[in-house]
Amino acid sequence: MATRFRGVMQSPVTPLNDDFSLDLATFERVLDFHVRTGATAISWPHHKGESLNLTIAERKLFAEAAVKVVAGRIPVTIHVSALALEDTMELARHAQAIGADGVLAITPYFWTPSPEAIHAYFVRLCGAIDLPVLSYNSPSYLAGVEITGDLMSRLIQRLPNFAGVKEASFNSEKFLEIARAALPLRPDFALLTGVEFLLPSVPLGGVGSYSAAGSICPNLCQDLFDACMEGDWPRARTLQAKMTRLWLLFRDQYPSSLKGGMVIMGRPVGPTRPPLPTASKERQAYIRSELEALGILDTEPHGW
């Protein structure tokens, strides 16, 4: 059976009021926008959703809202990574209690854990809930800490609910190492990448990605995924090039640039919590000129 976690999955930003408090009404609009514009799943709160700048109570509140608004139309996973693993465990149990479809968890922050410590962490997390657990591999943000192919094999063999990976090395060799370790053991393993890097990952067994720019350009996300799955490589190259230019635009001051871009697209979601900056008027004007140059304003939905 194919995994439910495939295609271009959207991880909504977290809308905030001007005083930086959570803006629930706008969050509900963001969720509904993603579902209506082709998201194959919702996952919240990724780093792009400012996960680490939210309190655990806030994360629970919006997790409940996500499950309620999406209402079974597509799967909802909850990103449970937190600085303290005790918080992660709490968020994971909460996700299960509110009816989420899975959780996503990165290798532990800050401590540069050994492979054995990473193994123990996923054993504990997967044992605490029955939901599918998607792992998250991001060595370039975590001082080289990664889930190697060997570790992936051990986790899959041991844990029936170790269901996939968001592989964010963006490196041919590392992605293939994980594909070779995982797919023979668990053919429905959800081998996913981040930032819509679909062109280089789909031919290696990737089945989808999380999205950086989906709140700006859902149509482009869908077209790129289709072109890759159909093996239409010339078209996929053109679309991936466009997607990568958007990533270069938003990567700078991510995710505040993304929130700035959403203003241009008629979907304002408020400021970004410090220490992250909020996109200034000048920055927004620059983003507008780039989106215009890429033709995004003509091909993507405006407003909610």
Partner: protein, 303 residues
């Protein structure tokens, strides 16, 4: 400059005698083997050929020998050095000797910032009229790497800057490069610097520098041909097999490559100091592992 398309480029080892001299008899056999087993071009002496352990004169001799012994295919000269003037002189001599192109890494040891890289590559590129390829290998160079911005500046400066041989395997860099560079230089080339060709090929790589072609030339050729035909889904089994082979050999560098060559019946001696040969017991284990590898079942044994 007309389009330079080196295709599948084999990167031969440098065989040594028992007293660490270059074994030119064996080198002749090596070059002949590559010519008969699918090389569209040769590049030497690359790191797989222990370039860093050869004297400048030896590099010139190896190049001249290869050009004389492979008159039917292009030979690309590896001219990397720490000093810009030394690398430029090697490049100039390579052109004179009949090399089809030169290839150079970022300078050894200095971990230079982009402004220095621009000057270094400008010095090499402007010393020759044949194409210059730049070898981007951040893992081997303490993190020093090419950026798309630097590539664009080099295109502006050097009419003969033809492309990048990539070992970074970095999707973002490759996509960005192949989005920007071909706009200003139509036939700008991305070549994969290792046998990880599927992702690079999907992004737009049109060539491959392959050290493992010395061990598994048929498999490498199959991978290359499938990728050139854009059959990336069909290429995955070959890509998986080569990744398995690479995993066995990667950590040991040229010593592993030479041990594998011995196991395949093509003894090229041991690596030069400071590299150490693999211990006999490790060589035996490697030979054992390789004999069980399905990827090598149909590969040539002996010369």
């Amino acid at each position: 400059m007309s389009a330079f398309q080196p295709g599948l480029v084999h990167t031969p080892v440098t065989p040594f005698t028992g007293d660490h001299g270059i074994d030119f008899y064996r080198l002749g056999q090596v070059i002949d083997f590559h010519r008969r087993h699918g090389a569209d071009a040769l590049a030497l002496p690359m790191h797989a050929g222990e370039s860093v352990s050869l004297s400048e004169d030896e590099k010139r001799s190896v190049l001249a020998f290869a050009i004389a012994n492979a008159p039917d295919i292009p030979v690309i000269a590896h001219v990397s050095n720490a000093g810009s003037a030394i690398a430029a002189a090697l490049a100039r001599d390579a052109e004179r000797a009949g090399a089809a192109a030169v290839v150079a890494t970022t300078p050894y040891y200095w971990t230079p910032p982009p402004a220095m890289l621009l000057e270094h590559f400008s010095a090499i590129g402007s010393a020759v009229t044949i194409p210059l390829l730049i070898y981007n290998s951040p893992d081997e160079m303490a993190g020093t790497k090419l950026t798309t911005d630097l590539a664009l500046k080099l295109i502006e400066r050097l009419p003969n800057f033809a492309g990048i041989v990539d070992l970074s395997l970095d999707w973002q860099f490759m996509i960005e490069l192949m989005t920007e560079a071909p706009r200003v230089r139509k036939n700008f080339l991305l070549l994969a610097g290792t046998e990880h060709l599927v992702s690079a090929g999907a992004i737009g790589a049109r060539g491959l520098f392959s050290p493992l072609a010395a061990i598994a030339p048929h498999l490498v050729r199959r991978l290359y041909d499938l990728c050139r035909e854009e059959k990336f889904f069909d290429a995955r089994p070959a890509q998986d097999e080569i990744a398995a082979l690479r995993q066995f050999l990667k950590a040991d560098g040229p010593a592993g490559l030479k041990a594998a060559l011995r196991a395949m019946g093509r003894d090229c001696g041991e690596p030069r100091p400071p590299l150490l040969p693999l211990a006999a017991s490790v060589q035996a284990r490697l030979a054992d592992a390789l004999s069980g590898l399905p990827a090598l079942r149909h590969e040539p044994r002996g010369w």
